[in-house]
């Protein structure tokens, strides 16, 4: 159980940062959402046409899955930022706080809008008539009679919105905004269930606390009890204040931002990069679990400073190249293209490839006589293939389909750490895999060869943002990593994070790798 205790204390060490951002994000989104939807609802209560439009719009927003809504704001803001930069010379960060804020603010609108309209509609017509009769103007009627009478219903709407927003804010992690979701997403990827539970628990406690306090405020309004309202207000101030306090502590110079994609190898390498940068005196923050396209655009826009990408990904996704000139030529042309078109500096390879590969259980492959993708094509219609969320929409997969003419009977998608279990247990026959994955040797899987060269090379490369490209200290801190990690070392490192027993955190593994890199450098220096 000492491992679990370690995981709990590791989780606790992040609490100030994660909770602080979670509260800051939710609170800002609520303030914006309410200050838009409250006046809008008042207008809606008066104008029939606007009511149908506004409620319809808010209803549609609600039907968009929350994660998709958050993700949609990234390209939107990126475009907007490019536009303002071109027109006014001022851009803004399209990743992180802003897209999360915008999506959550929109998300909070429906309950407030709906309840405010219902509350205003519910005011007794006799009372409204009397208000006109005693000579109230429209605004006096609104502020002296209608809003006070609708207040309990409006507050109930705000309460619903707050619960939704605090819950949904956990999904802002994938767009690069730190939140309690960092526990959940990191935990899910690294199978650190203590982290997942901790994240869910923290979000639930925060939600319940805010819900109860708002319920108290609501009861205070219904019973016209100033004491209850004051207690609820004080409670909310205390909760928010306590949560936000840690954020004010470290508001120093801009830290170096290390990005990672959403799998273990990336977390390990992210931690390794952080170790190197910290040793060189940089303060660092992480933007974890970003999607392939998001992370590349974010680097080009300077929203993250460094991350590890794979040559074939840039070749196919960003350069849109379909030709296969070979490993060295891809690396050279890519480096040149990144510098010319984006100002991104490619420092070079880390020393291993993490290529797309297709793997089968060794016994099953032997039974069918499958050794290569060409062999696979003959059996594919009768077989089931499992892939991660990306593979089937990627150009690499289309290349394999075209070059070998494979067409599977069934395609299934899994989260990457369930993928290997699916093939090991026989749920699927073939899986897409990554060549550095420690589970390939662990589950005794056979990687099918690619005789026609349909798949591009995937050298792990260090990419540095245009802004940091000329920062000599920054570059010098990362240079020792180049060529330092071979395939076997990366596979072993990944396995340490993936295995069921004796599992280690990405930070621990990164520390080992860092020590190894340092030792290697020392040896070289001596030679």
């Amino acid at each position: 159980m000492s491992g679990d205790a370690g995981a709990v204390s590791a989780a606790l060490s992040h609490l100030g940062d994660y909770l602080g951002w979670h509260v800051l994000l939710s609170l800002s989104a609520m303030l914006i959402g309410v200050s838009i939807s409250l006046p809008l609802a008042v207008l809606c209560a008066r104008l029939r046409l606007l009511r149908a439009t506004a409620l319809g719009f808010a209803g549609i927003i609600q039907t968009i899955p929350s994660l998709a809504l958050l993700a949609l704001f990234y390209p939107l803001l990126l475009g907007l930022s490019a536009f303002t930069r071109a027109t006014f010379g001022i851009g803004f960060r399209a990743l992180g706080f802003l897209p999360a804020l915008a999506a959550l603010a929109l998300y909070s609108m429906l309950p407030v809008l709906r309840n405010t309209i219902a509350g205003l509609d519910g005011v007794d017509p006799a009372v409204k008539k009397a208000a006109r009769g005693v000579g109230m103007t429209h605004s006096q009627m609104l502020f002296l009679v209608e809003l006070p009478l609708a207040a309990p219903v409006i507050l109930a709407g705000i309460r619903i919105a707050a619960v939704w927003v605090i819950g949904t804010a956990t999904l802002s992690t994938p767009v690069g905004q730190t939140s309690l979701g960092n526990y959940i997403f990191t935990g899910l990827q690294t199978e650190n269930w203590v982290f997942v539970l901790f994240g869910c628990g923290a979000a639930a406690v925060l939600t319940l606390l805010v819900d109860r306090l708002l319920a108290l405020a609501e009861a205070g309004v219904v019973r016209r009890s100033k004491l209850r309202i004051a207690a609820a207000g004080l409670g909310l101030v205390l909760v928010f204040g306590a949560a936000l306090l840690p954020l004010t502590a470290d508001a120093g110079s801009r830290p170096a931002v290390v990005g990672t994609k959403n799998f273990e190898e990336q977390y390990i390498l992210g931690a390794l990069i952080e170790d190197r940068l910290r040793a060189a005196g940089y303060s660092t923050v992480r933007r974890d679990g970003l999607g392939s396209t998001v992370i590349f655009d974010a680097l080009a826009a300077g929203e993250i400073d460094v991350y590890v990408d794979y040559s074939g990904t840039v070749w196919a996704d960003d350069m849109k190249r379909r030709d296969r000139p070979g490993r060295r030529a891809v690396l050279a042309q890519m480096t040149d293209w990144l510098r010319r078109t984006r100002g991104i500096r490619c420092l070079g390879g880390l020393g291993f490839e993490n290529a797309y590969a297709f793997a089968m259980r060794r016994d099953r492959a032997a039974a069918l006589g499958i050794h290569s993708l060409a062999d696979l094509a003959r059996f594919a219609p009768a077989l089931r293939i499992g892939g991660d969320y990306e593979i089937f929409s990627r150009p690499e997969w289309r290349a394999v389909e075209q070059v070998y003419g494979v067409k599977f009977g069934t395609e299934r998608q899994y989260q990457s750490n369930f993928l290997y279990r699916a093939v090991a247990s026989g749920d699927v026959d073939v899986v897409s895999a990554f060549s550095t994955d420690g589970r390939i040797p662990l589950y005794d899987l056979k990687v099918l060869s690619d005789p026609k060269g349909a798949l591009p090379p995937y050298d792990a490369v260090l990419l540095v943002s245009p802004a940091r490209a000329k920062d000599a200290n920054f570059i010098a801190a990362l240079t020792p990593l180049l060529g330092a990690i071979d395939l076997g070392r990366m596979q072993r490192a990944n396995l340490m994070a993936d295995r069921e027993k004796g599992k280690r955190s990405p930070e621990e593994i990164a520390a080992d790798l860092d020590a190894f890199v340092a030792a290697r450098r020392l040896q070289r220096g001596r030679k």
Partner: protein
């Protein structure tokens, strides 16, 4: 003095009020009577511009009401509603003093005036000042309604079936109390009712309406002695018929 000149209100093809002309003298207690749907409440609401007329004019002391801002007009005229319409989130004192608050009077002045008003409608201020409407009986609520209407010292009071929803004892008591207030303050009152007994006992004059038109206006005695048509006769007769039937019942002749 209030003068209605050829007053009409149309809702599409339907005329709710149809060419009503009527003079109401200062200090007079006029009852607008008639059956449901005869247009009496609409006529009342036209006077303080809660409803705008389709045609015709209303003059109060020779000034056309269309030349006064409707909000300002309503603040000069007291209005008492059948469904009372007290503001449920305000205390009795806040309800009674609302017109003064809207007029921007000082807090102390409002408090003093509210106590005076509550005493006038026979609600002991120290007991009722801080009560919420929900804690009052129907009669007490309408007393607050009357106090609210009187707060800004209006010369004209409009009352829309003010005692209609009350039990008989409370109704008689409140009607008698209001009539006394009318005398004491020298008010001009226009009261709408469909209850002919109430109309005959309260009103200096009765204006009888049918299907949006004014049929006849006069003192109760005039309407009884020389009714304009069968409708007026039937309306004026009904309380007498009922009184006779009741007398028979009491005498054991039924």
């Amino acid at each position: 003095m209030i003068e209605l000149r050829g007053l009409s209100k149309h809702y599409g093809p339907v005329a709710a009020v149809d060419g009503v002309s009527l003079r109401i003298e200062t200090g007079e207690f006029l009852v607008l009577a008639g059956q449901s749907g005869s247009g009496k409440t609409t006529t009342l609401s036209l006077i303080n511009r809660l409803i705008e007329p389709s045609s015709g004019a209303i003059l109060i002391d020779c000034a056309d009401t269309r030349e006064t801002d409707p909000v300002a007009l309503r603040r000069q005229i007291g209005f008492v509603f059948q469904d009372i319409g007290l503001f449920p989130h305000m205390t009795v004192a806040e309800n009674a003093g609302i017109a003064l608050k809207l007029a921007g009077r000082a807090r102390r002045e409002i408090d003093a005036r509210v106590d005076e008003l509550l005493a006038l409608v026979r609600l002991p201020p120290e007991r009722f000042r801080n009560a919420l409407p929900a804690a009052l009986s129907g009669g007490q609520r309408q007393r607050v309604g009357v106090a609210r209407a009187l707060a800004a010292s209006p010369r004209l009071m409009l009352m829309d079936e003010p005692f209609g929803a009350l039990d008989p004892l409370t109704r008689d008591e409140l009607a008698a109390d209001y009539r006394r207030i009318h005398e004491r303050l020298g008010l001009t009152t226009v009261l709408v009712t469909h209850d002919m007994t109430e109309a005959m006992l309260l009103g200096d004059r009765i204006a009888l309406m049918r299907e949006g038109r004014l049929v006849q206006a006069g003192t109760p005695r005039e309407l009884i002695s020389s009714p304009a048509d069968e409708f007026v006769r039937a309306m004026m007769d009904s309380p007498t018929k009922r009184a006779r039937a009741l007398a028979d019942l009491q005498a054991g002749r039924a």
